[in-house]
Amino acid sequence: MEQLSLIPPALRTSRPLHFPKILRERYNLLVPRQEDGLIVLAIFQKVRAGIIERSFPERIIVDTIKQVLNELGQGSQRGEETQKYDETIHRLLRHFIDKNIEDKSYQLSTYGENFCDMLEREVHTAINPSQIQKTFNDLVMLLALKLESLEDFRHWYLTQFFKHKADISAQLRALQAQIEDTVDQLNDLVKNEHDNFREMLIGCEALLDRIKEQADKLSSAFSSKDDIKQLMDDADLGVEFEFREMKRDVRGYFKDIEGRLINVSHTIDRIKPKVNKLYNDFEKRDYDRKIESFLIYMLKNSSSKFFRTKKLKDRKVHEVEVFLPKNIREKDLYSDRSRITGIDYMQLLEPPPITLQTLTWDQDDLSRQADLRRQYLAREKRIEDWFNIITADIEKKKEINFSDYYYQIMYKDNDFEEAIKEATLVLKEFTKNPNYEVTVSEEFNLDPKHPHIGIWKMQVKSIAS
């Protein structure tokens, strides 16, 4: 931004910088350091609010000094305070405070009051587009009368233009300050948890809307600047170098103002999406909080039923069934898989549990069964041995009468079942073998030792050539 000066542009470049000696020497006293400025401002506000009289004792200044230094975190060490307060009062007395020698009271100097007034106006300028509109109207009206001569124009430039441009700039600074305040509030909202986050966000958003609205109104009020430009373009003073320089200065100023207004709008446009994001974040945070509450509610109010311990491949687990809280229903998922495969999918993966039965063993019965099994095997062995004997005898004698062997089995082994099984085996094996001929006649062969048993005469003959 181009800096504006009270010295006309035509004169600026050719002259060396020159400040009054008194300004150079007293600058630090005329422009107070931060704590001094704030002390003066605090006294000014106290007087205006009626908290203290326009004329006040030294004690009021000392109290205000303490108050401001504490606020700034610049408290002094014990023993140093009195000296420091004294030095401060001494500095302020040069330009900001006047002392009444007679009653030893103090009051703010005119410079001090103007300083405070200027500070407040700079910080708290009320945005007033309609006033700006009037200001522009005045500027245009007066300019139309001041374009006859360079001297008249210079007068307009140095008085009207310089006077009003301060008001115009103040309006813009006020807009920018409002934006900065809103951004600070938004940053504070983001950094710190506020109970009334949503309400504060709504407040910030409303503030931004209002700033945007005021910026639009100011833009509209500034439209008179085009009239000023036009008037200057139409003036016959264009041949004058100084006029051209001042005109360039005026145009540059309005261009700068226009740019700053656009910047205000753009800044708001950039902030708006961030505000929307804050809304979303807030909604998300609220939803997340509800999810957390829901989770804890579900865990706290669910119950479980324990069954027996289940043995898995390499570990044991409890068989547990969980139940959701009474007022929470299990949710349905679409699943049509069984129709596609034709097999109950989950059943395939998780077959129904096998019911194990507890068995008690009868040890006596077990040994009895073992004996029986051993007897059976021994009988099978003997049947085989007898069959081998019979076969060998047939080969040797060519013909045998099985009845003889039958009774031998009875004599030797006394096993009726064995003898019957041997008869069945011999009959079966030799009947189907073409090298043997089996003849059974209905003639009982009897044995005196076994009077209750009789067997038909069964002869086996080898007919192999």
């Binding site: 999810i291 957390e292 865990l299 479980s304 409890h318 349905d332 679409y334």
Partner: protein, 232 residues
């Protein structure tokens, strides 16, 4: 027939020949299909023919093809809406309480606590559940009837088993995806948000639910009236 072929013309495409059987199988198995590398072809197919597929499932199977999310978090699945819930009830499968609880825990840890950014190592996840001060006591109480300090090996195994079984079910649904090279690593898929969708009413009204439960507990001393029959 002419109408039918126009309605379901996607079936005539080369993409359908290559992908539809698998997509249909996945949908009917209850799976969710999303825009992730392991499902990208199927996702693109569904995304391309979304409207036709929606008609297809609506007209022929009386179910709704749902699409939720946007861009990389978009996912599709079949669901029964209010109109068809009764008709296709036999094709419904309930998400068990065990799976429901783990799903909400997983989402909470992932979405709110943001403990895991990408892949989640199963033992880490189990360890987190067992040590988190906020809910470990509830978990041990539900699955072991004990406090953490008193838990036996069987109790610990039971919790492990609950987590691993639930994760298997979530993988089947497409809510998570196990790394094929390391079956102990999984990634949460966007479609797990479906769990929140299913319980959105309860979540939005959780403050009221808590108040109601507290009120009942005050009146009954924690005892609920016995309901006759199945409320389902």
């Amino acid at each position: 027939m002419e109408n039918a072929s126009k309605k379901y013309s996607f079936l005539e495409t080369d993409e359908a020949e290559a992908l539809f059987a698998e997509v249909d199988f996945m949908f009917k198995s209850g799976q969710h299909i999303q825009n992730y590398p392991h499902q990208v072809e199927m996702f693109n197919f569904v995304d391309k023919f979304e409207e036709e597929l929606r008609l297809y499932y609506r007209n022929l199977f009386k179910v709704n093809l749902s699409g939720k999310g946007s861009d990389y978090s978009r996912y599709f699945y079949l669901e029964m809406d209010e109109d068809t819930r009764g008709i296709v009830k036999t094709r419904a499968k309930k998400l068990t309480p065990e799976h429901t609880l783990l799903g909400i825990l997983l989402l909470k840890i992932h979405r709110i606590d943001k403990y895991f950014i990408n892949d989640i190592y199963v033992p880490d996840f189990i360890q987190l559940l067992k040590t988190n001060e906020e809910y470990k006591n509830f978990i041990y109480n539900l699955f072991a009837r004990r406090r953490e300090k008193e838990a036996t090996e069987i109790d610990e195994n039971t919790i492990d088993e609950w987590v691993r079984n639930s994760l298997k079910e979530f993988e089947r649904l497409g809510w998570i995806h196990f790394d094929p090279r390391n079956k102990e690593l999984f990634e949460i898929m966007p479609s797990i948000e479906r769990l929140f969708t299913m319980y959105s009413y309860e979540i939005h009204n959780i403050d009221r639910l808590i108040d109601e439960t507290n009120s009942i507990e005050e009146k009954t001393g924690g005892l609920y009236p016995v309901e006759e029959g199945d409320s389902e």
